[in-house]
Structures are given as C-alpha cells and as structure tokens.
Subunit: 201 residues, 2 copies
Amino acid sequence: MEAVQDLPPGSGPGLRTKSQLQRRRRILQAAAALASRGGVEAMQMRTVAERAGVALGTLYRYFPSKMDLVVAVVGEELDMLESSIARRPPAAHTPDGRAVDVLMRATRGLMREPELADALIRALILADVELPFGDRMAGLLLRVAGLPEVRADEEQAILAASLGAVWVQELLEMLRGRRTYEDIQHRIEIAASRLLADFPA
Amino acid sequence: MEAVQDLPPGSGPGLRTKSQLQRRRRILQAAAALASRGGVEAMQMRTVAERAGVALGTLYRYFPSKMDLVVAVVGEELDMLESSIARRPPAAHTPDGRAVDVLMRATRGLMREPELADALIRALILADVELPFGDRMAGLLLRVAGLPEVRADEEQAILAASLGAVWVQELLEMLRGRRTYEDIQHRIEIAASRLLADFPA
DNA sequence: ACACTTACTAGAATCCGTTCTAACTTCGGT
DNA sequence: ACCGAAGTTAGAACGGATTCTAGTAAGTGT
C-alpha cells in the first residue's frame, strides 16, 4: 500500500530508471534547440514533444507547464556558467571587477543564442519560480566578490542581489535592442563600482 | 489621396472624434477594473470588450494586443504617480532619501491593488514596449534627486536607472510573496545610499 | 442628398497551452 | 511466468488570445 502517488512537485516523475533520465534529457535538449531558433514561439509544447519523441502527455508529466520547462533549461545554462567560472575564475583584483567579469561572461554566453536568451529571461521573470535565478546569481556574485555566503553580512547580500537586478534589467534592454554589449559593460561597471565599493578586497 | 492608412502604431485609431476618446477611456476603465479584481486572468479580452460595450474586433483595433492594453493602463498609473509627486514633493533632505521616498510611495500605491500590480508589472517586463516604464521611472528619480534631466550627466542617469531596476526586481519579489513592504524599504534604502551617494544635495 | 472611405458589430475560425481519455507498456514483486 | 501499479501513447477536447469575415453605421468631401 503506501503508494507514493504524488510526484515531487518540481521534478516530474521519480526519474528512477535510466530511460527516464534519457527522456528528460531529450526533452530539455529539444526544448533548448527549438528555442535557440525561433525563441519562445518556436518552443511549442507539441513541437518539443514531437522532437523529443514523447507524447504530449508525457512531456506534461515531466514538466507540468511550459514555464517549468523553461526554468529547467535556464537551470542547465546556469550550471554551465558556474562550472565555467570554477574552471577559469575571474582574475580582476577588486571585488567589483570580478563581479563585472562574471556578469559580462554570462552576457556573452547569452548573446550567443539571443532567441533562447530572450525566451528564457522573460519566462523566468514571469515565473512564480521558487528556486530563482536571482538568488543563484546573487550567490555567485558574492562568491566571486570573495565572500562565501557564510561570511557575507545581510547588507552585502542585498548589494550583490541589487547588482544582479541591474544586470537582469540591462539584459532585457539588450534583448529589446536598446543596448549593445559595450553599453551593458559600461553601465554594469558603474553600478558595480558603487554597489560593491566597500567590499573587502 | 494621401490617405493616412497606417495608424500610429502605439495608439490605435486616430482618435479624432470625441466618441473615440470615450470608447478608449471606457476600455481602459473596464480593463483596470477587471484586473484589479482577479488579476490578469480576469482581464480577458472578451470580458473587457463586453464590459466596455464594444465588439472584440474594436478592442483589438484600439489595442492590438493584450499587452498594449496593459501598457496603456500602466501609463495611466504612472501619470497618477507623477501628479501625486508634483502635489506633494518628497521632503527628505538627501537625494537618496527623496528617491526612496518616491519609490516607496509608488510601492504603496501598487500594493493597494496587488492583482492589478502583478498583472501590470509582469506584462510590462514582457512587453516590447517602446516607451518604457524604466526610463520614465529613472527620469522621475533623477528629478526628485534634484537633477532635472538636462543637468544630469551620463553617469548619474545610469545610477538612477539602476536604482529603478533594483526597485522593479524587489517589486517582483514582493508579488511572489517573498518580500514584505518593510523588506523592500530596507533593501531600497541600502541600494539607494550606495547608488546615489555622490549626488549633490 | 450622394458616394465613399473608415469604424464598428456579431460571430465564426484559428492557434497554442493545457487537460482528459482509453488503450498499451514497462517494471517490481511474487 | 503473472499481476497490478505506474508510465507511456495517440488523439480528442477545452479555454483564452488573436484573426478573419460579412454586413451595418458613422463621418467626410462634393
């Protein structure tokens, strides 16, 4: 008896078997591929399902809504950013320099697939996501600024999150065609120099 | 000849006649009323049209998409904020104090109709709006900080816009139920004190 | 008043996210 | 090898934004 009826809300099926992991991977891959072409519009649930070789109902079992799917795709991108940073940590000598470095690296990554980036960022902002982008980015910024979360005080956490917020908005403006990469860099540098001014070197 | 076939993209029909202005007003009013109840979901195009007493096609002639409608509603709210500020300017003695004052006043205004606020903010972020919220808010912040746009240099404009960006993100967090009014005030104060630190008193 | 362009109306039609159904498979336990 | 639960499938069905169509009203120039 004791049936485990309810799936862990965020994650679809239990993903016990190997074929389920593969299905999940195929879905994410199909979704990212479609979005990197035509943006959100091209990433239609029917199309994703078809391209991943699963039934529509199955797609919805793995990702209860389109937003969940988008969030998962973004999560993968963030993983990649984090591991890229672990591989080659930012070299600047000041905390704000390192933060700018990370943000601009992320910006370049997103610019490589503008349609995907557009789809992802917008969907994220819309989403009622529980494990959000913002927090993860803020944590990352704190870390490269030299303050592992434990050592940061509340004020520093707020400042790092604020810098993340500025970056997200600039990204949106870029997606709307109103900023170039250089604009963003310039603006982020200015904001970072103020927000992170009194972080310990 | 010389037919003016194309409507000015943002604004729907030419709005030449009085009855067209009234129709537009009725539509905006219906939209705001519906949204302030049940949020975006309640603000359905059919319902708005019905409640405004126009045909669905006409609604779409005035506002080519739901987003355009939302943007127009937001515009009206911003007008109200600006006139409220003109009536009772912020009293704090420092530029950042005045900026915080304005932002928190706007926050309270939005909190009064949380469903509406939610609908509006999200739609705004999604929208490819040409006349954006962000710029208008940044201009307003510069003004209350004591720098009419003409006197502000580029760096100050960027810092004001950054503060606006931080505020928008905090607002989103509030709509997600992850911030209280007091949280926002605290966080905005911290960000403003850094971002506007060297504005002339 | 007349002709004609433009605006409006009612309603059907389309598109896409999401939900539902009924039958078919796969898997773990026995 | 067999049973029942959980996973999968193809496809229909539903809901809301958006588009389309045919016909009616309103406004403008002559």
